[in-house]
Symmetry: C2
Amino acid sequence: MVASDSTQLKKHELVRQHLKAKINQGLAPHEKLPTERDLAEQLNVNRLTIRHALGELEREGVIYRVQGSGTFVSASQISKSFEFTSFSEDMRMRDMVPGSLSAELSVEAAGMKVGYALNLSPTTPVVHVRRVRTADEVPICVEDVCIPHALVPGLENGINGNSLYEDLAERFAITVERADQTIQATVLNESDAAELLVPPFSPAFHVQRTAFDSRGRAVEYAESLYRGDRYSYTVSITRPAHLRET
Amino acid sequence: MVASDSTQLKKHELVRQHLKAKINQGLAPHEKLPTERDLAEQLNVNRLTIRHALGELEREGVIYRVQGSGTFVSASQISKSFEFTSFSEDMRMRDMVPGSLSAELSVEAAGMKVGYALNLSPTTPVVHVRRVRTADEVPICVEDVCIPHALVPGLENGINGNSLYEDLAERFAITVERADQTIQATVLNESDAAELLVPPFSPAFHVQRTAFDSRGRAVEYAESLYRGDRYSYTVSITRPAHLRET
DNA sequence: TCAAGATATTGGTCAGTACCATTTTGAATG
DNA sequence: CATTCAAAATGGTACTGACCAATATCTTGA
C-alpha cells in the first residue's frame, strides 16, 4: 500500500465516527453491534484498531461490552462525558448564543491567591479579564480570568471574539487541555446579584478553575459566579475500577 | 514461563499500580517517567502493555504525555478524576468518617419522576431509602435513594452498613459502574435546613443522579441536598480532542 | 423433558514488529 | 554566534498472531 493514501485521519477515529453515526441513526439501546472480528473484516482494519475505537466509545458511555456476549448500545445517552469546555462552547452545546455584556481588561500583579494557583510570584504581572457572560442575551455568570502576562503579551489591548480560549489558541498558540475545578454552592451578594439581574441572596455556583496547557503549565486561573436558576451542571461519570470489586 | 504462575492480576494492572506507587512516593510534578520502551524492558512486558497502563493513568489525570518528548507526572494531584464514588467512599477519601443519622426504608410505587429516570412504569414498586448522611458526626446531606424492588428483594427490611453500594454488591451482586449526575445550586427550605442543622435559606447543592450497572441497566435514582458550607465539589477535567485544534 | 457437560462464540490480554508524527538535540552552515 | 537542517529520541498508530476468560449454544444422557 502506498504511503500517501487518502486517509488524512486516523483509522481508529474513522471507525469511531462510523460506528457513532451508525448508532445515532438506526440502533436502539441494548441492540448488539457486530463482533469485533466481523467489524475488522468489514472495515478492512485490524481488530486492535476496532478495539481502540470501541474503547473510546465505551469511555464516552455510548456502548458497553460484555465478555463472551458482545458489544451493545448504551441505554442512556443524555450527557456523554466528563469533558471540559469553555463558557462559549458550553452554551453552544446547549443551543444558546454566547455573549459578553462588558469586558474590563487590565494588567496587575498576581497577588497571593492567583499567584499560588498559577505557580507565580505574587508580583508577577497577569492580565485580568472581568466579564459578564450571557446566553441568548441573558446574564448567566460573572467571570474573572487571570492569565500570566508573559504568555499573552498584548492581550490587554483587547480580546477578539467571545471565546477567550479561541483567542489563546489562535493568537498565542496556547492549547488548554486540562483543568482542576472546584465548585461551591453559595448565595449572591448585592453587587454580584445586580450584575446578574437577580435578587440578592439568590443561589449560585462559585467555580474556581485552574487550567493547564498541553505542557502542564498553569495558564489560567478563573473564578466565576453562575446563576443557580439558569445554570445546572450535568456530567456522566464512571466508577473507578478498584472500587468495583465483589 | 509456566501458565499458572503467581500473577492473578492482569499485567497492565500490575504495571499501573507499580507506576502509581512510584509516582506517589518519589516523583515530583512534571518529572519525567522512563520512556515506554525502557519501561517495557525493565518490567519485562510488551510495550503495548505499558501503553495500556499509561493510558489508564492518563485518564485518571496522574500523568500526561507529549509526543516526541516523553511522559510526565501531572502537576496537580488534588482530585484525580471525573470519578464517581458513593457518599461513604467520598468521605473516606477526604479522611472523614461517614455515617447516617437515621434511615427510613419503605416500598412504594415509583411515580412519574423516578419511573422516568429508572425507565420503569410509574406503578412499579421501588425501595425508597431516606437518610441524613454525616461526616465526622456532622450532617452533610439528606439523601433520597430509589431502587427497583425487583432488583433488591428484602432490602426494605434493613441495610447493613453505611454504604448502600457495598450492600448492593455483596447481597445482590449489583455493580454500579456509571452515572449521569446533574448538580444545581439552591437554598434550603425550613425542614431540610432543620435536618442539616443550618439556618433556613442556606446555600446548598441539589444533586440528581441516575446510576447504571455494568449491563447498562438503570439501578438507582437518587436526589440529595448537600450543605454548601461544608461541601465542595472538586474535579479534574480534560478538554475534548475535537476542541483542541489550531 | 430437563439438567449437565462439551463446544463454539466473543470480548480481554499480551508478545512481537514496523512505521509515522512530533519534539528534541546537535551538528553543519552562514 | 545565530540559524538552519538533519538525525535521534519518543510517543502514536497499525498489523499479525496467539491464547485466555466469560458467555452462549448445542449435545448428550438420565
